[in-house]
Amino acid sequence: MKKYSQQEKLLNFGISFLALGAFPLVWFLSQAILFRELTDLISRNMLVVIGLLVGSSFVFLLFSGMERIIKLAPIERRDSLEAKMFAGPSLFMIFLFLFYPAIRTIYLSFKDRYGTSFVGFENYLWSFNDTEMLVTIRNQIIWLVFVVFFTLFFGLIVGWLTDRLNKGEAFFKSIVFMPMAISAVGASAIFKFIYEYRPPPLTQIGILNGIRVSTGEQCYNNRVIDGVVKGYDDASCNRAVGWLQQRDLSNFQIGQSLESASWLDNILVNLPLNTVLLLVIMIWAYTGFAAVVFSAGIKAIPADIMEAGQIDGASELKIFVSIVIPYIKSTIIVVGTYMVITVLKAFDIVYVTTRGDLETNLLAVKMLDEFSKYRNIGRSSTVAVLIFICVIPIIIGNTYREKENSSL
């Protein structure tokens, strides 16, 4: 490595300071001040036009300006300076929009409801003692276990089965994949209609209740037969059920027959039906995604391994368990990781359907509730930190796995 003289060092420092510090700062500030002044001077429409022109050239001029300054540096230093030039702005942005808010959230989680005075670990104690928080954490665990497991399970099955198809593979895969194209809010709205409840004697427009109230001899969902509206008020008919309000199975025959029996029955009877019905939405929405990724993984398995298995007389199931799954193990882990993070962030489904009523809340919704409904910044930040803490091990695990893979 070349030794630099004091003077050269000073020059280098000056150039890096100019190129990566002073120039972007002055450039950014000048733009900010320009627009602040313009807002009051000219009309909104003009402002938009100027904003488009100046704004789109902003980055271009920023980089060309920085490059011009870097050109002043000795040639052997330019490479490293240019690398810094490109990495710098994104690092700055990551710090500004990711690290700074994260650190501030952690800081706020130790403060009171207005974020003014310190309360120590009180918010954390609250989050593990408050009954509502405990239910929320329970729901989050149920979601994690069920959604991740069933998405992987159904995804694998669909991915494997469509791969075995002689024709129509693309068609079936795209049907299963289609829910991914619908936003979570849209999917929730669809399922909200499926679970819809109307008080009697109104017509049940939700399909589940529609089927329920029209099973039976004299039971019709307000169908008109020979000019007479036939309802479901006969004693033999099933009652309509508010599906998303059922915290357990005690309202159903199966629940009643299980009551006060063994511990397994006890768990079944306490199955939080509404939470399960909500997480079905997410499984429905993400199975297609998992299936498509798995199917790509399965396609990459060399045909000779599969054929070798078949020649050795392995059954389809044996091939699936002993060849396919080990071969796409890393794909399964990637999809699983993605699903875990998605479930931890899950927000829209609960927000659109029940807003957390009757023990269906999730951490992300609880975080917002604490902020805007109960106006408690400290607790809201605490819930955010809890979600963050849950994600950390997964991120770390994923990074290590990547390292292992690349070292192979």
Partner: protein, 432 residues
């Protein structure tokens, strides 16, 4: 010399004030709030004549998500000039955190404000002796909707007391029908209908408004015998077999806007699904279109029945309250206009309006619908007698009024009368 400079400065500043204060032409005042759709359009229309007169441009932006947005705006310092909170609790909270300018500081004539809206309403926005909340439109909650034709056909008379209502309900059940519609699902606010019932009962039992005020300010605990009595009476409505059409499932699962629909549907025997529905005046806008036009005629109201002869006729209501974030002459003009008797004229005349302006001098003949006029007279009458009370859950701390109170009412509906004590204890424990 010094004196003359001082004098010059005084003169100069007076000129500046005179020039600056002379005309507010073109000044802009920005208001946000939770009103959307027709209500928002009506609110904006209220300012048409004002803008013509003063030249102050008032623009209103309503949002479904107002309550979250205003929190974020306050945190980031990007507040509107005036915000129209759906509940006084939001105003009080913002004032305590020091974001608001009090009406006194703005220069509003408080005596006049008190005289035109009652000191009870003015007191709702009070923090440390200063007043921050400006009264706006209200709705009346102490009413029960029913269809007179159905009552007449069966020889039922409108119940004037609670006991008469229970007797009528028993009669309806004995005749194989269901007396009440009751649905309180409300997307994150589920349970408020039951809290309204509790409040109406609280206003009519014990010492009436006195107990009610103590209850709101937590001078009596939430598991006090008076409150327990109210919860027991509510549970009687919710849990007596056959009282509510659809039973517990209907109570917790029916969206409050659809709760009255069974009343408008006849079964095979020509009977409606229910006969009585206790719900606020704004419910009409949730009805099916063909029923909505008949509000006040086909479907109308009787006052929530009295429970104790010794108490005055109380009225429960709720409504918006506005708060001021910036101090300027234009804002002051707007605030004074919003508290004047002419403010609500444009909105009141809209055919879709069901909101009631609280000003005592407001000309109630302007309301587009007869039913609105009747309800408005009930509100102003109760205000004059100091028997009007604001929705308690809106006045309690948000952990209770928007949290445990709602939540435990849902739990009470599901768990049955045996849960009353536990529900009240839980709410009491959650009081901060």
């Amino acid at each position: 010399m010094k004196k003359s400079i001082f004098g010059l400065l005084v003169i100069l500043s007076m000129i500046a004030v005179a020039c600056g204060g002379g005309s507010l032409e073109g000044e802009e005042v920005f208001i946000t709030g939770a009103l959307v759709g027709n209500d928002a359009a009506g609110f904006q229309e209220n300012f048409d004549s004002f803008t013509e007169e003063t030249g102050i441009i008032v623009s209103f932006q309503g949002s479904d998500n107002f309550e979250q947005e205003i929190q974020i705006q306050m945190e980031s310092g990007d507040t509107p000039d005036i915000a129209l909170f759906p509940q006084p609790g939001g105003v009080v909270d913002a004032a305590q955190r020091g974001y608001l300018i009090s009406l006194e500081d703005l220069g509003v004539d408080m005596d006049e404000y008190r005289a035109s809206f009652s000191s009870y309403i003015v007191g709702l926005g009070e923090v440390d002796g200063a007043h921050y909340g400006g009264a706006h439109a209200f709705n009346l909650k102490s009413i029960v909707w029913y269809q007179p034709a159905e009552f007449e056909a069966r020889g039922y008379s409108v119940p004037a007391t609670w006991d008469e209502m229970i007797a009528l309900a028993d009669q309806i059940v004995a005749e194989g029908m269901n007396p009440f519609c009751f649905g309180m699902e409300s997307e994150g606010a589920s349970g408020w209908l039951a809290t309204d019932w509790m409040e109406d009962i609280m206003l009519r039992t014990g010492e009436g408004t006195v107990t009610y005020d103590k209850w709101v300010s937590h001078e009596i605990p939430f598991n006090d015998p008076v409150v327990k009595n109210a919860a027991t009476l509510l549970s009687q409505i919710m849990h007596t077999d056959g009282y509510v059409v659809g039973g517990t499932d209907a109570i917790v699962s029916t969206y409050f806007g659809n709760a009255q629909d069974p009343m408008f549907v006849k079964d095979a025997n020509g009977n409606p699904g229910c006969f009585m529905h206790r719900q606020a005046s704004f419910i009409t806008s949730f009805w099916p279109d063909e029923v909505q036009s008949q509000a006040g005629v086909e479907t109308t109201v009787f006052p929530f029945p009295a429970m104790d002869d010794g108490l005055p006729k109380a009225a429960l209501g709720a409504g918006d309250m506005f708060a001021v974030y910036s101090d300027s002459d234009a804002v002051k003009e707007v605030v004074n206009y919003m508290l004047s008797p002419t403010f609500f004229e444009a909105a009141a005349q809209r055919p879709d309006n069901s909101r009631i302006y609280g000003h005592v001098d407001f000309d109630s003949s302007l309301y587009s619908k007869d039913i609105t006029r009747t309800l408005a007279d009930a509100i102003t009458g109760a205000l004059a007698e100091n028997a009007f009370r604001f929705d308690a859950s809106d006045l309690m701390p948000p952990e209770v009024g928007g949290g445990s109170f709602w939540k435990e009412m849902m739990n009470l509906a599901v768990n049955g009368p045996g849960y009353i004590d536990e529900a009240l204890d839980n709410i009491e424990k959650s009081w901060p």
